[in-house]
């Protein structure tokens, strides 16, 4: 119950702060731009291929529009999530309100989960607010691939959950929001691009890369290993954050 209470308070705090709305505005603006460019590209390319006898005219909405859109816009999440997570604990540590929180009758786990779920709820609402874009396709086609759409949203949610837990951990080890922002953005970006320089698809860099684990998810292929990756990454950083907060108790 305490978890829900803290999460609700966190969500309200985000919406009562202009920063939350600005983050939402930035996300919608960037993803909106990605959407119209991807849509325009698909309309042009698919029309051109019909008249091109030398190329195979197989561009599909699920792979070449929705898949590309969800895949490309992950980089927006890499930029936006650290801006959301930077203040989660660093603000509390800097303002010395964390001590109050730790001495209140709630456990460290409840604090971590509550704050995390509050921030994740905001992210989920943010992602949901972008649903007008893929759904607008129904105005022009009746062959929308709901499986691929679900995969795209699942990839967004799982990636956001993992990046948010990473950002929350970074936020718990510094008192400066700016330092938390820079560190979590760098770490998130590194995690995202790690596979770009890998030669072997089985290499550890690919296994660790966030980008590699969403490639097929955005097209509607849900793999047990991808779920384990995102679940493991999220749980690990949540646990690390919990241990970090516990250290404030014994210190």
């Amino acid at each position: 119950m305490n978890v829900v209470h803290i999460a609700g308070r966190e969500l309200r705090a985000t919406f009562s702060n202009a920063v939350g709305w600005l983050v939402l505005c930035g996300f919608l603006l960037l993803t909106g731009y990605f959407w119209i460019t991807q849509l325009d590209l698909f309309v042009t390319e698919s029309a051109n291929l019909v008249f091109n006898p030398y190329g195979a005219p197989t561009m599909t909405i699920s792979v070449h529009l929705l898949g590309q859109f969800f895949g490309n816009t992950l980089v927006v999440l890499v930029m936006v999530i650290p801006a959301l997570s930077m203040r989660l604990f660093s603000e509390e540590i800097r303002g010395r309100t964390l001590e109050l929180l730790l001495t209140s009758p709630v456990s460290t786990l409840e604090i971590v989960l509550g704050k995390y779920l509050g921030a994740l709820s905001f992210v989920a609402l943010m992602l949901l607010s972008m649903s007008y874009a893929p759904l607008s396709l129904l105005a022009w086609t009746d062959s929308l691939d709901w499986g691929a759409l679900f995969g795209g949203y699942l990839s967004w949610l799982l990636a956001s959950a993992a990046l948010l837990s990473l950002g929350m951990f970074v936020s718990s080890i510094t008192t400066s929001q700016m330092v938390a922002l820079v560190l979590s953005f760098s770490a998130s970006l590194m995690l995202y691009v790690l596979s770009w320089s890998a030669d072997d698809p089985d290499s550890w860099m690919v296994q660790l890369s966030l980008g590699a684990h969403v490639e097929d998810l955005v097209r509607g292929a849900v793999r047990a290993s991808d779920l384990a990756y995102f679940g493991g990454l999220t749980a690990f950083f949540l646990f690390a954050t919990h241990q970090r907060l516990e250290s404030f108790r014994w210190k």
């Binding site: 202009a18 709305w21 309309v43 022009w140 086609t141």
Partner: protein, 543 residues
């Protein structure tokens, strides 16, 4: 001693730096030989000196409350990391894919699953792809599904540019993509990342089967390994060998047609085969053999006439197509014909062709109507209705001559299935000592096997052009696939032909629709969030 203790941190610093250097060099070279080991030893020595010098302070630190609790926390976090990595490794080892895509992009067919089920660890698949390429990504995805269905299957990913020795070992000369299937000494190769093709190659690998193609020589045909001349077909032969065909040379005049040939190929002959060679070919087809003939315009008139026994007629012409849609881009020569869509006959060979085929100068090949009982000829390719068979292309003004020349949708390739071999009227086998061996026109049955036993099942494909599979034009459009599909159909490997790719999706959005979409995405929706930000800011300032 005190001075040393005061400066002991230098050893810690050096030790740490060496440890980092060791890790960095190992990361770059992926080997412990040389510097990584030397740096690691140096680091260990420096850290040992530091521990020896600073032992009092270290002992104090190790017994402190911060260290005891902190190390416990670190241990727990490390354990949590281990659990996360372990869980992921386990999930990856026993991976499962839920395919939610409408077109089932991530599902294997039941046939493939049945083939994969009994596969043991003795089968290896090596993918030679350029790193980070789209083809490598497709291959990786397909292999993940294969490994889900066959956990013992070993898959290796190799970049031929980075591992030239391995590429050389398996004779991989392209970095576009080659898949090697290996089982003991047997090796198969595939150049397409398609489930059907790969599964078919796996079936062949497991059954040790190989398709033998006999390449006829002795009538002016190019050598099968001619990869450099424009008139050669060496590049296509490379593709054939990559698809598990073994191409061997065949001299019909001396040896007749080997019954071990699965397909007899006669390409660009410029000299008519002798009558007894033609009978040998007919006997081979009548016994259920398969033959592919690629003939150029205005060549081998006797042989062309002889092919009428198979239910088709080759015109002494050069087909010209005046339809602008049938012209090759940038080429004004109307004898270079481009065919696509409804130009393809309804047949296994053409069903998977998604793009056009280009025939740079073809003659007409027409099924004879009505066909003889026992023969089923089908036109494989047809021109547009603005084509004609030009009898005299060297004349200045090339125009259709109604009544004299064939006009309309002219067939350029024909496939024939022989169900009754008696209609081929093969000459009877001649006695071993029959006739003068130097008289090539006498005793036409001399190359017909003595134990000649006609049966149904023969197949013949005739193209009125050779250049479509030549070194210069094979890569154009779907030419290569047309050739490979033809061979696959001839040997009965229809699984290699695959299915016609599904039609792509097309979105037609009006200018107004795009403008609205743009306004909503860029202005209205983000603008609403911005407005709420402003309201929140004002409320916080004034409340």
């Amino acid at each position: 001693m005190n001075a040393l203790t005061r400066w002991s941190w230098v050893f810690a610093l050096v030790g740490g730096a060496l440890l980092l250097a060791s890790a960095c060099v190992w990361f770059v070279t992926q080997s412990w030989e040389g510097y990584p080991t030397q740096f690691a030893i140096g680091a260990a020595l420096a850290l040992l000196v530091w521990v020896g010098l600073d032992r009092a302070r270290l002992a104090e630190l190790l017994t402190s409350r911060a260290f005891v609790y902190g190390s416990g926390a670190w241990l727990l976090v490390t354990l949590a990391g281990g659990v996360a990595v372990g869980g992921y490794s386990l999930a990856r080892r026993h991976d499962h894919t839920w395919d939610l895509s409408k077109k089932r992009l991530y599902s294997l067919s039941d046939h493939t699953r049945a083939v994969l089920a009994p596969i043991g660890s003795d089968v290896r698949i090596l993918g030679f792809f350029r790193s980070q390429s789209e083809a490598e990504h497709d291959f990786t995805n397909l292999m993940r599904l294969y490994q889900e269905a066959a956990p013992n299957l070993t898959v290796e990913y190799i970049d031929p540019l980075q591992s030239p020795r391995q590429a050389q070992k398996y004779d991989v000369t392209s970095d576009v993509g080659t898949i090697i299937l290996e089982r003991g000494e047997t090796v198969r190769r595939v150049t397409e990342v398609k489930e059907g093709v790969l599964t078919d190659a796996l079936v062949l690998l497991l059954s040790d089967a190989e398709h033998r193609v006999c390449w006829s020589l002795g009538h002016g045909e190019p050598e099968p390994d001619d990869e450099f001349e424009q008139t050669g077909l060496g590049a296509f032969v490379v593709q054939l060998e990559a698809a598990n065909y073994k191409v061997t040379k065949s001299l019909i005049a001396q040896e007749g047609v080997d019954r071990g040939c699965e397909v007899l190929m006669m390409v660009r002959p410029t000299v008519d085969p002798f009558p007894y060679e033609r009978e040998a070919i007919a006997a081979y087809v009548a016994e259920g053999g398969r033959a592919l003939f690629l003939l150029e315009p205005f060549t081998v008139p006797d042989f062309s006439a002889d092919l009428e026994r198979y239910g088709l007629s080759l015109g002494p012409d050069l087909v010209v197509d005046a339809d602008p849609r049938s012209s090759f881009m940038g080429v004004s020569d109307p004898s270079v014909v481009v065919l696509s869509g409804d130009s393809f006959g309804s047949h296994e060979i053409t069903k998977s062709l998604a793009a056009a085929v280009v025939l740079p100068g073809a003659r007409s090949v027409t099924p004879i109507e009505p066909p003889s009982a026992g023969l089923t000829p089908i036109a494989l390719l047809r021109t547009s209705d603005q084509a004609w068979g030009e009898l005299n292309p060297d004349a200045g003004d090339v125009q259709p001559d109604p009544g004299l020349e064939q006009i309309g949708r002219i067939p350029l390739a024909v496939v024939v299935e022989v169900s009754d071999p008696t209609v081929l009227h093969v000459a009877a086998p001649a006695p071993a000592d029959g006739g003068d061996p130097l008289d090539v026109t006498a005793n036409p049955g001399r190359a017909v096997p003595a134990d000649y036993a006609p049966k149904g099942g023969g197949r013949v494909v005739v193209f009125g052009d050779t250049d479509l599979l030549g070194n210069a034009a094979m890569a154009l459009g779907n030419n290569r696939d047309l050739g490979l599909n033809t061979l696959a159909w001839l040997v009965g490997e229809t699984a290699q032909i695959g299915e016609r790719p599904e039609e792509g999706d097309k979105l037609t959005i009006t200018g107004l629709g795009q403008a609205v979409s743009c306004l909503v995405s860029i202005l209205f929706v983000p603008g609403a969030a911005m407005a709420f930000a402003g309201i929140t800011l004002v409320r916080r300032r004034f409340l």
